[in-house]
């Protein structure tokens, strides 16, 4: 019936796009490892005698890593019982919804979407509240979402805004693409005469143009007071990244820098630094920061990673573990990172590290319960 269409669509695809046998073998191998990683801790507690026997046989080789894992697993359980780490299981919510969910500390709630609505799950009462009712006109599963105790913001055609106090909804139609919610304001990409970054005050509904875009690059990084934009440009001396820092309240351009890299992306603005991934000449990206006092770039001596999140001196990295990866926590000293090993005791893969405004680290677990872990990094590090 649809063979003709299928052939037409086939012509749109590259040739030889098949799942090779080697790739299938690799998937099977990975699947074994991931399943083993999830069941190993249970086996160890259920079968202590067998575990002990295995120790005797292979003690020389395996004792050290095993004991280390046991210690880390115990430390992790202690951190859970002392509430330095909170494990939250939101029932009947799919993993794709949870991976994009938002922890709002002030209300101790998880804001999440499903295909048709936006919901709040109270961690205290274990109940769910509908924030935005299901509607056919918006596909919530594929929109960006941001939330705090006062606002819920989601994308789609424009930016949709829910005032949680009054229940009023508003749409900012001229917004285009990504946005970020900080307190009572959103920063978004808008289009008037030129594509520009705007700040929109959610209380006064006042819109301020901050920066006209003059090059490609990463979405800006913002704090309550400042916004930093990094733009990739090509000049007489080759490619470089131009960084502009604005005071949001006064709209003043405070500082500019030129960074001798082709790309500076995934930005995080700190008090006196902008962290991000630097790369040039197609090389792998390296994590570092632009020192705002000196204008110099410092590359951090940290493990190879595929994602990072940072708050003060606490750094969370998605680092290689076997043939997969997981999130590990570090404490930055100068330009090197000391591991904080408590998270190593989690039996499941951890993904998508992000910090909230008070410095709590949120990660998703990929085990059977697909939990969220909320980690009080300071408390964890104090012991």
């Amino acid at each position: 019936m649809t063979n003709k269409v299928q052939n037409q669509l086939d012509a749109v695809l590259p040739e030889r796009l098949v799942l090779e046998d080697m790739v299938k073998q690799h998937i099977l191998h990975q699947a074994h490892q991931r399943l083993d990683a999830e069941v190993v801790p249970k086996r160890l507690t259920l079968k202590p005698l067998m575990t002990a026997a295995a120790f005797v046989v292979v003690a020389g080789v395996l004792a050290v890593p095993y004991v280390e894992y046991e210690q880390q697993e115990r430390a992790f359980q202690e951190a859970l019982s002392e509430e330095k780490i909170q494990k939250v299981v939101v029932p009947n919510v799919s993993y794709p919804s949870l991976i994009n969910s938002i922890y709002v500390e002030e209300n101790n709630e998880i804001i999440h979407t499903d295909e048709r609505g936006i919901y709040s799950y109270s961690i205290d009462t274990k109940t769910e509240t509908v924030l935005v009712a299901p509607t056919e006109s918006i596909e919530f599963s594929s929109v960006d979402l941001a939330a705090n105790e006062r606002w819920v913001i989601w994308g789609g055609h424009g930016i949709h805004i829910l005032n949680r106090d009054t229940g009023e909804q508003n749409v900012l139609l001229e917004a285009y693409g990504s946005f970020e919610l900080v307190g009572d304001q959103i920063i978004y990409l808008g289009l008037s005469e030129m594509p520009s970054y705007y700040v929109y005050d959610l209380n006064t509904e006042e819109k301020l143009l901050l920066h006209e875009i003059d090059g490609g690059g990463s979405f800006p990084t913002v704090t309550h007071e400042r916004l930093a934009v990094a733009e990739e440009k090509e000049g007489d001396n080759g490619k470089s990244v131009h960084v502009s820092i604005y005071n949001i309240e006064s709209r003043e351009l405070m500082q500019t820098y030129t960074v001798p890299y082709e790309s500076f992306s995934y930005l995080t603005l700190g008090d006196d630094r902008i962290y991000g991934q630097f790369s040039s000449n197609g090389d792998d990206t390296t994590l570092g920061y632009l020192d705002l006092a000196t204008g110099k770039v410092h590359i951090l001596d940290v493990p190879e990673n595929s994602a990072y999140a940072i708050y003060d001196n606490y750094l969370a990295l998605s680092v290689t573990k076997g043939e997969s990866d997981t999130v590990k926590l570090f404490h930055l000293k100068e330009d090197t990172a000391d591991p904080i090993k408590t998270l190593n005791g989690v039996g499941e893969r951890l993904v998508k590290p992000r910090f909230n405004e008070s410095g709590k680290l949120i990660v998703n677990g990929e085990g059977l319960e697909t939990p969220l872990y909320i980690i009080d990094t300071k408390k964890l590090h104090e012991n």
Binding site: M1, T2, K4, V5, Q6, Q8, L9, D10, A11, V12, L13, P14, L17, V18, L19, V23, K24, H26, I27, L28, Q30, A31, H32, R34, L35, E38, S94, Y95, P96, I99, N100, D114, E115, R116, E136, E139, S141, S142, D144, Y176, G177, S178, L189, L191, M194, P195, I213, G215, G216, G217, S218, F219, E232, S265, Y266, A307, L368
Partner: protein
């Protein structure tokens, strides 16, 4: 479930659905490495959760649902947003600065490929899931979490957007 049975089910699912799943994911994310990563993750999730699967839906529908969710996640990720934002800004700048050149480039490119690739995500998904992966309209609804009527409406709009180039013989199923 015994491991060998799990292995057998995974191998069977990869043999039957692997190629088409990879192509549909590629058609949506437009990056081979990312498409392979997503397909790998889909099959690993299937393997891990095989006990809970319980045949509430067909394996095919289940796999495509996980895959589409992963595609949506990718679109929301920092990395994709960075690339996409660069792309958006680039497009906007081009539209402001060099409209004539842009039109000439478009005229020389393959019409169907251009139209398909430019479809908004919700139309692109239904086209590839229904016409290429041969999921029924009801199954597409299950994969995307929307009603049969929504899927039919999107298919109709998608066909209009590609200007009738797709030589379909029977629209519904």
């Amino acid at each position: 479930m015994e491991r060998h049975e799990r292995d057998r089910m995974l191998a069977e699912a990869m043999d039957i659905h692997g190629d088409y799943l990879l192509r549909v994911v590629y058609a949506i994310v437009k990056d081979r490495a990312k498409a392979e990563d997503i397909v790998q993750e889909v099959f690993i999730q299937y393997y891990i959760h095989i006990d809970e699967f319980g045949h509430r839906s067909s394996v095919k529908t289940y796999l495509y649902r996980i895959a589409i969710n992963h595609c949506h996640n990718l679109f929301k990720s920092w990395h994709y947003r960075k690339l996409e934002l660069s792309h958006q800004v680039g497009e906007l700048l081009v539209s402001f600065q060099n409209t004539e050149e842009k039109v000439m480039t478009e005229e020389s490119s393959d019409e169907l490929k251009r139209l398909i690739n430019r479809l908004p995500l919700k139309y692109k998904e239904v086209i590839w899931l229904h016409y290429y992966a041969e999921l029924k309209v009801s199954e597409v609804g299950e994969v995307l979490g929307c009603s049969v009527n929504t899927v039919k409406t999107r298919l109709a709009r998608a066909r209009r957007l590609v200007k009738g180039i797709l030589k379909e013989e029977n629209a519904d199923d």
